[in-house]
Structures are given as structure tokens and as C-alpha cells.
């Protein structure tokens, strides 16, 4: 493979240092204190990375276990995606000052920090592309999202380990990263393969001591990816069958899933592509100024579909149906592909252990039998 370079494991500290020297704060996977899982948080250096840890995920379960290796990236994914670093869960949009009866509106200007995210997975990069389409490519650009997106440096790492909840192979988004990265790593037993996908990435690579990757190293990396693909046990129905969900809007299976669903919105909170947010005013008690904010919202919340004194989707059945049909069917009309990239977080973090993939498969097989 063209431009593939190798550096030994000790070089990882140099890479992080090189990124920092370029003015970035570095975000990476680290064990979240008290939570027992991995999350993208600011890291000081290589010592904060989850060395020798693997994740075990299943419906409503996430555990980290020592794996006896020296590897930093022998896990599938983190509890939340990289979404919060671009589409923040809470954002001030503008402020209004009231003076002598007049209103003075002031736009909020977010000053984004240069941010490098280390250890990004294929599923999350694919989801970032979906969010780019939503927030940047319409007639109106979200200036807050764009400010952060432009300051982002993405250091991806190909997966070598699939969790039981992973299904990116079936959505076509992984386990190998295909594009959207600045730098891309493969972790081997004694070091890393590295290549760049942008000028920004190439600039950082010049600071790093690397050697040409050997054919054996490259084939080892490919074999890891293959193994990761083979180990995925879950699969969404093929894309061509997914529009069939829209023919199943009155299926009794929605009632069945609604009996288990708590409508808590965890799935939408951890989903790397979900974009819903609500706007609200936060007035100061002095009556002189008010701030207009937005918070991440969920189609599972009661007032998401509030409409002149009523709620369109009053029941959990209708909300679960909205979540699934939007993600797997109507998203295609909006952005040319489904809104699911196979990260499996909605399965892991559902407190009721509802398996999104299984539900979609059940709905579609019921349709075909009907």
C-alpha cells in the first residue's frame, strides 16, 4: 500500500507530542473514572490510553477487562462517540439585551479550539460524515458545528477487535476506515502502521521517525481487519430491504417493543448520527437580558412532537417507530444513505437491553412472511 509507514510502539508518545506541538488539545479514549468504560476525554499523553484493556459489550452491558497485551487499541468502541466535540450537547446561540423597551440581539461567536481526536473508529468517522451533511451542506450552515469541525484533526485507528454489539460490516462502514481521516493507524504487536489522508496529517507525520512498512506488517494489519469483520455476529438486513420498514408501520411488533422500551432516550444520546436538539430561553432574573440556548433532544421525549396543545407521537410505540424508521429508512431520502453506521451503542446502552438490529430483522422478516 502506498505511503504506508511503520513506527515502533514507543513512537506513539512522539506522535501525541507532535500533535500537541501543532497546537492541538488531544482527546483520546480513556477509562472514565467511576464508570468502568471508555470515553473520549482530554489526554495528557500515552499514559492515559487504555493499555492492555478490552471491552466486553452486550445488550445493556459494557465492561472492561485486562487482556494481557501491551496494545492500546484492543477494544471496539467508547461509551459515547466523538459527536460531542462537534455537535455539542449544549450551546448558547445568542443573547438578547432589553434596554428601554428595545431588544438588542447579539449572535454568540464560538471560538473553537484546535482539537485532535485520537483513536477514532470507522463507525464514528462515517457518522461524522452524516452529521457534516446535516449541519453543513443544507441551505443554512450551522456556524457552531462548522467552527469546531474546521479545527478538528482526526487520528483514526483501524479496529482489531469487534464487540458482540458491533455490526459495521453490515452497514458497510467498517471495520476498516476508508476515508475522512487526517491520520490512520493500524496497531500491531510491536508498533503501528501509519498513513495520512490530508495535508494536515502529512505535516504531522513529517515530525515522526518512521520506516517503510514491510509486506508482512501490512498483511498482518489486513488479517486483523478480516478477523474483526468475521467476528461480528450481528448484521442489519441488507440496505435494499430496509425501505420495507415503511410498509410495516402498523406492525404489532412496534407494540411489543414499546412494552420493553422506557423511552429514556439513551439510544439517541449515544447514537453518533442523531442530530435533534431543542431551543430554549434562559432569562436573567434582572429582566435585562436573556440567553437563547440549545440542548441535545431525543425523539423519545414527550414534547419532541409537541404541536399546538397536543403531542403527535403520544405513545412509546410511535416514538420507537420514529427512531427506527428514521435511522434505517427515511434518512435515505434526506441524506442518500441510512443514518446507522453499525457502532452498536444503542444496543449496549439501552437499559432494557433492546437490540436494535434484532428488532429490525424481526420487523422485516415478519413483513416478508406476511
Amino acid at each position: 500500500m502506498k505511503d504506508m509507514r511503520y513506527f515502533p510502539r514507543a513512537g506513539l508518545a512522539e506522535l501525541i507530542a507532535a500533535i500537541k506541538e501543532s497546537g492541538y488539545r488531544v482527546i483520546g479514549p480513556r477509562v472514565e473514572p467511576g464508570q468502568g468504560g471508555l470515553a473520549y476525554r482530554e489526554i495528557a499523553g500515552v499514559e492515559d490510553l487504555p493499555r492492555g484493556l478490552s471491552d466486553e459489550q452486550s445488550p445493556a452491558r459494557y465492561r472492561l477487562h485486562p487482556n494481557g497485551s501491551q496494545r492500546y487499541f484492543a477494544w471496539a468502541n467508547t461509551s459515547s462517540a466523538i459527536k460531542p466535540f462537534v455537535f455539542t450537547p449544549r450551546e448558547k446561540l445568542w443573547t438578547v439585551v432589553r434596554k428601554e423597551g428595545r431588544l438588542h440581539f447579539e449572535a454568540n461567536h464560538e471560538v473553537a479550539k484546535k482539537t485532535a481526536v485520537f483513536g477514532v473508529r470507522a463507525c464514528d468517522l462515517a457518522a461524522l460524515a452524516l452529521q457534516d451533511a446535516h449541519f453543513l451542506r443544507g441551505a443554512h450552515t450551522d456556524v457552531f458545528y462548522r467552527a469546531r469541525r474546521e479545527k478538528l484533526l482526526l487520528v483514526a485507528v483501524n479496529c482489531s477487535h469487534a464487540a458482540e454489539t458491533c455490526f459495521c460490516a453490515s452497514t458497510g462502514d467498517g471495520p476498516e476506515v476508508s476515508d475522512g481521516y487526517d491520520l490512520l493507524l493500524d496497531e500491531l504487536d510491536d508498533g503501528f502502521l501509519i498513513r495520512h489522508g490530508s495535508t494536515k496529517g502529512a505535516m504531522i507525520m513529517t515530525d515522526l521517525v518512521t520506516q517503510e512498512a514491510s509486506p508482512e506488517q501490512i498483511s498482518q494489519a489486513c488479517a486483523q481487519g478480516e478477523l474483526c469483520r468475521e467476528r461480528q455476529t450481528r448484521a442489519l438486513p441488507e440496505a435494499s430491504r430496509l425501505p420495507g420498514l415503511m410498509q410495516r408501520l402498523e406492525s404489532p411488533l412496534w407494540d411489543e417493543v414499546a412494552e420493553r422500551c422506557l423511552a429514556c432516550g439513551n439510544c439517541t444520546a449515544v447514537c453518533p448520527s442523531c442530530f435533534c436538539h431543542r431551543e430554549f430561553d434562559s432569562p436573567l432574573l434582572n429582566g435585562k437580558h436573556s440567553e437563547h440556548w440549545r440542548d441535545a433532544d431525543s425523539c423519545f421525549s414527550e414534547d419532541h412532537s409537541y404541536l399546538v396543545g397536543e403531542v403527535v407521537r403520544a405513545h412509546t410505540r410511535a416514538r420507537y417507530r420514529q427512531w427506527m424508521t428514521h435511522k434505517l429508512a427515511t434518512w435515505v431520502e434526506q441524506y442518500g444513505r441510512t443514518g446507522c453506521t453499525g457502532c452498536g451503542r444503542c444496543i449496549t446502552w439501552c437499559p432494557a437491553g433492546i437490540d436494535f438490529v434484532d428488532e429490525a430483522n424481526k420487523l422485516l422478516s415478519a413483513e416478508e412472511e406476511a
Partner: protein, 279 residues
């Protein structure tokens, strides 16, 4: 709007005049404070603005008529924001952002019969369109205006409807669904009663409709049964709108963002999902 612009920020506007139309419906006459914004503001018939009340929030309200110098909005006090808005006296300042969304097909309707079917406050989003057709009477065929209310005393702009009734080649049909008394020039019953009496060319017409979801669904079915092509029926939908630019996700109806792909849709684009309960 420029790509670098923060599209969420309103502009200040002043309430120049207010009319209490009914106990819970009022009309505002607004003007942007900034002369340049007022001058450049243009809306297309059927589009909406986001109106902001200090410290409370925004609501999506269709433009009833006017331009940036003289902007008219008719609002029903029904939620948190609109109830508080009803108390604002003339001279108060609010925020206005817009215009947003799609608009009525007045170009497509040219040369054809034009049929407006509205219920309740659904009459407000078509007001400017009716006026446009009246002003360009020679460009359009027959004009049929149907409006349904629960009680006649809740009806808006009756003198306006009576004036239209006098125009050539124009039919105005009004009905009150819950009145006991049958008033002159009024029918008793729902919109369906009017559909039977409306006289227009079913094959060469454009229907523009606005009202509650159920009313639009039933009316579209009836119209199709009468021989109106579904593609010639247009509806204006109401959904939860917060950002108005297709970002916040609340107004989605299947793959449509009602705020930017709508609120005006050709009926076939929304028919399937409008017929699914709670979708």
C-alpha cells in the same frame, strides 16, 4: 443568507398595531426596526416567520400579509409563548426571523381554477394568496374560497369574505360546524358540506388547503373522489418547529423537514404518512 451567518438570531421588530380578532386570536402589524432589513425583507405567499418573545421563546407563525415595512401575523393564543404574546401592548418589541419554507403554487395555478379550502385559523396562511389571485384576477380561472369554523362568532374577516363574494367568477362558501342557527350565506356542517356545493373545473384546478391534519386528510380523499388529481392538491402542514432551517429535527415527517421542505407540500408527497396515526 450567507453561509457565515448565524441563522438562529432574530431581528428586532415593533408592534405597530394590534387587533383582537376573537377572545383568543389576535393580529399584529409589525415593522422591522432596522430600515435596511425592512426594505429587503420579501416573503412568498405561504411562508412563515419565527416570532420571538423576550425571555420566553420562539413560535412559527405564517405570514398573513404585507412586507418588511408592514408585516401582518395572526396568532392564536394556545401555548406558552403565544398566550404571553397576547398581552403585549402596541409599541412592544419582539424578535422576527424569516421568511422560511416553501410557498403556495400560485405560478402553477395560473390559467386554472383556484380553490382554497381552510378550517379555523388555517385561513391565515392563505390570505395573502387569495389577495394575490384577486389582484391578478385575469390570470386565473374561477376562484372558489371555502372556510369552515366551529361557530360563526369565531370566524375571522367575514367582511373580507363578503367582499370577495361580489367578485365575478368567484364563489365564497362558509360553514359553521357547531352552530345551531343557519345564518344567511352560511352552511351548517364541516368542510365536506362545502365541497359538494363548490363549482369549479375538477380537471383544471389547483387546490390550496390549510387546517387540522384530519380535515386535510379527509378533504384530500373527498377531492380525489370528485376527480381532482392528487398532484393538484397542496397542503400546508403544521409541526413543532424550533430552528426553522432543517437542523433541530422536531418537524420531521418521514424524510421531510416540514420547516424547509414544507410547510406547503403537494399532497402525494405526504399522503402516505399523513394517513398513519401518530407518525
Amino acid at each position: 443568507m450567507m453561509k457565515t451567518h448565524n441563522c438562529y438570531v432574530p431581528h428586532e421588530a415593533e408592534i405597530i398595531e394590534r387587533v383582537q380578532e376573537t377572545p383568543d386570536i389576535f393580529t399584529w402589524h409589525l415593522r422591522f426596526s432596522d430600515a435596511e432589513i425592512a426594505q429587503h425583507y420579501r416573503f412568498r405567499h405561504g411562508q412563515f416567520n419565527m416570532l420571538y418573545l423576550y425571555g420566553v421563546g420562539e413560535v412559527a407563525i405564517s405570514v398573513m400579509s404585507g412586507d418588511g415595512e408592514n408585516l401582518w401575523h395572526t396568532v392564536r393564543a394556545v401555548g406558552r409563548v403565544t398566550k404571553a404574546m397576547m398581552d403585549l401592548p402596541v409599541g412592544s418589541r419582539i424578535g422576527v426571523r424569516g421568511p422560511f419554507g416553501s410557498y403556495w403554487p400560485l405560478d402553477i395555478a395560473r390559467g386554472k381554477d383556484v380553490v382554497f379550502v381552510t378550517a379555523g385559523l388555517g385561513c391565515a396562511p392563505v390570505m395573502s394568496s387569495i389577495r394575490y389571485v384577486v389582484e391578478h384576477r385575469q390570470d386565473y380561472g374561477r376562484l372558489v374560497i371555502m372556510q369552515s369554523v366551529r361557530h360563526r362568532h369565531e370566524s375571522l374577516w367575514e367582511p373580507q369574505y363578503e367582499a370577495w363574494r361580489a367578485l365575478p367568477n368567484t364563489q365564497v362558501l362558509l360553514t359553521a360546524s357547531r352552530d345551531q342557527t343557519r345564518w344567511p350565506n352560511w352552511e351548517l356542517g364541516r368542510v365536506s358540506v362545502l365541497l359538494e356545493k363548490a363549482d369549479y373545473n375538477k380537471e383544471e384546478c389547483v387546490v390550496m388547503m390549510c387546517g387540522p391534519d384530519a380535515m386535510m386528510r379527509d378533504t384530500a380523499m373527498t377531492l380525489k373522489g370528485l376527480g381532482v388529481t392528487a398532484a393538484n392538491i397542496y397542503v400546508s402542514l403544521e409541526r413543532n418547529m424550533q430552528c426553522a432551517v432543517g437542523h433541530c429535527g422536531h418537524c420531521q415527517l418521514g424524510g421531510k423537514f416540514v420547516c424547509k421542505d414544507g410547510p406547503v407540500f403537494p399532497w402525494p408527497e405526504v399522503e402516505a404518512l399523513m394517513c398513519v396515526k401518530e407518525y
